[in-house]
Symmetry: C2
Subunit: 132 residues, 2 copies
Amino acid sequence: MTKLNHIAILVEQIEDALPFWRDALGLTLSKVEEVPAEKARVAFLPVGESEIELVQPTDPETGLGRYLAKNGGGLHHICLEVPDIAAAMERLQDHGVTLINESPRQREDGTLYAFIHPKSTQGVLLELYQLP
Amino acid sequence: MTKLNHIAILVEQIEDALPFWRDALGLTLSKVEEVPAEKARVAFLPVGESEIELVQPTDPETGLGRYLAKNGGGLHHICLEVPDIAAAMERLQDHGVTLINESPRQREDGTLYAFIHPKSTQGVLLELYQLP
């Protein structure tokens, strides 16, 4: 396990969140990206070797959109980097852990990722990354 | 803003959480501490420059204990290190941010800390640390 890649915070509107996270707290906004595959906009604010990601669903009918409508904004998931995601997932399955993605999925930039089910983690939605 | 100090995860029992966070995921358990001031036991698992803290309330009548009973386990708060917590808090108040602690409090090891109210952060309980 190498490091914490990011903490994802679900927000109604990125523009409403920046007055706190950027202006009052003093974090740097490195970029805002549209992520059509997830129907979301994401603002990236680096902190040390990690990033805070403000995630704004753009479609209320997605999983993210429904989660926001039901629970409101707040901490959504954390993501840890691993050197070999396939090996990590095999190890997790050997320990009886429930995975949301049975095999790694791939982002456009080549990052491999998978989510672990909160029922195996004491209620935390946990993502794994293997960077390209 | 220097780095993410820790992510706190509320758990019913640390011993029930370790089979996932330590054994299956492969994190190192550096220590388990009793924190009488918070009526909690805390397990520390370093990840890169940050730590995952598994927080087990030892008294159901505390704020932590009631939160756990109401919401179940899961992500509880995140903590960012700042070089000067008094300056950071003054800046936050100048921006109209609601603080839970109006002035910094001190842990036994000399760490100064303060919590920011979730209503100012899009639903995230956020702690600031100034290390001794």
